[in-house]
Symmetry: C2
């Protein structure tokens, strides 16, 4: 579950004045002067244009185990993740993806060749993948041995209702294809709304619960299909419009829905854009939810590094 912060070691950036900053370092520890790397990475091109990067690489995993779990509810997902960290020797937990049944139904309906990994009448699923850089050895418990024991324990604890471990590469690919086709499948369902939020991992179930109630109060026939990278506290809080509702009609509700979702995530100390930045679309939202102090500091930096406002103007931040 590696983030941008750990992945990028160095940058080359073209600045507003035409100078090129060579920050192509490859160090794990460096405490010399201001940290310009993170500043440019988070600025969406408004402080400079990133032209090169030094990335950190990891050895390819040599032992991977993918499993598909029907689970009790989102609370169970958080507990399973926490138990998985402990049971798998920590860093073996590569992926932990929560999906509602609406997600998987939608994919199975629209994406040819996908198969339901598990016939289980539950509302929530988890795609769990463990991996190790160490190859499997005879007589030593590998990832799938550990996963099997883990799932048995979780079944007994009532968090997992049913589960299957991919026995072949094709089965694992099918599980991932379901996860990765949700966005594509949703487009064939017609217009929708989607929020890319993050919150402390432990508060995801509370956010889902309160968020669904608030949105359904505004538009009771909207069809939620939440899914998330829960190890990162990141949720794609997504909705298909009500059956048959066109884009224009849905748009009448979207401002009110956006406000309740972002109010809720802000009240829970979360982020209104976990992965996808601000751009133009969330400009007003950032201005609404961030303190004047924070916006002022950002503006001071923007004006200092790009006094003529020529770097991706109009994005991220209003200058006045």
């Amino acid at each position: 579950m590696a983030m941008r912060e750990n992945l990028v070691l160095g940058l080359e950036v073209v600045l507003a004045n035409g100078d090129v900053w060579d920050g192509l370092r490859a160090l794990k520890k460096d405490n010399t002067g201001y940290d310009l790397k993170h500043l440019f990475m988070g600025a969406e091109g408004t402080l400079g244009i990133i032209t090169k990067a030094v990335l950190k690489l990891w050895p390819a995993p040599k032992d991977v185990c993918t499993a598909w779990l029907a689970i009790r509810d989102p609370n169970a997902a958080i507990e399973i993740l926490s138990e998985a960290y402990a049971a798998s020797d920590d860093d073996n937990v590569g992926s932990c993806e929560l999906m509602s049944r609406t997600c998987t139904d939608m994919v199975l309906r629209h994406i040819p060749g996908t198969q339901d990994p598990l016939k289980a009448e539950t509302e929530w699923y988890l795609l769990l993948e463990w991996s190790s850089a160490r190859p499997r050895q005879d007589g030593v418990a590998g990832m799938s041995d550990k996963m099997e024991q883990f799932l048995a324990d979780q079944l007994e604890a009532g968090r997992v209702l049913d589960a299957v471990i991919a026995q072949t590469e094709a089965q694992s690919r099918n599980m991932w294809r379901i996860r990765e086709s949700v966005a594509e499948a949703s487009r064939t369902e017609g217009p929708g709304l989607s929020y890319d939020v993050s919150v402390a991992v432990s508060r995801i179930p509370e956010f889902i619960d309160k968020g669904l109630k608030a949105v359904l109060e505004i538009l009771p026939t909207i069809r939620p299909y939440p899914l998330g990278h829960i190890g990162d506290g990141n949720l794609h809080f997504s909705f298909m419009g009500p059956k048959g509702m066109d884009r224009e009609t849905l748009a009448l509700y979207s401002a009110a829905i956006t406000r309740v979702v972002n109010d809720l995530i802000t009240s829970m100390a979360g982020s209104i854009s976990a992965e996808h930045g601000i751009g133009i679309e969330k400009l007003d939202e950032l201005a609404h939810y961030r303190s004047k102090t924070e916006l002022d500091v950002m503006r001071m930096i923007k004006r200092a590094l790009d006094p003529k406002n020529i770097m991706n103007p109009g994005k991220v931040l209003r200058l006045s």
Copy 2:
């Protein structure tokens, strides 16, 4: 081997204009606006004063194994570290500390109660610690079982010449005490020089080799005692002055020695201050080794956030 970047999730900072920035978030993923957190963390108080922080915590390790290795040379240390990552399921490698024999001799001479963990006539030692959040279980290989197998393999490969695994808490404490008493022991030896550098992990042996040659050419009787957190590419490249030489005489050599060390680390794309920042002492060094472009960007930010130069003035950066 967690770094500042992974440890600090949020900050509160008092700014030069008296405003308080509340950035006390606890999110793993957030892409909303400029990354102010890293900017303030790297600025040594020159952009604002950090008054609160949200830290990430890890579960206390439940199974720890500490070992003391006599090794062939620094190249062997890098190979052992790489093999350790693979053999221990990656994230179990908690510490990997390289010490020269001069370090351990100095500690054993000056720090009462320390004992040589291993009678081995080698020039280089490694303190290796593996830990897991998972408690030891009967019938499952724990940290010390894995370490034992690992050390046997490394002995056979000729990288390790002799090794001992701490069997008691007291033995482990003794190993750590030797490592952690090097600085204290060095002070009783009289005046010295020390450089806190970092470089790509794989290039540490090359740096040690070239750096020692260059320094000994300037002052052949100086007594090196290099040690380092090699997993981070971080080396404390340290020297006791020649026997009997006073502080004033050593100071006559220090400018020339500092220059060859920092020239070398810069030519190897390393950092002249891995852990300890710039402050006043390395102000000239930062100015010497960083490009005009980079210093200009830092100055633009400093002037924008602290136009009256009241925040820790004179540190990190000369303003003109």
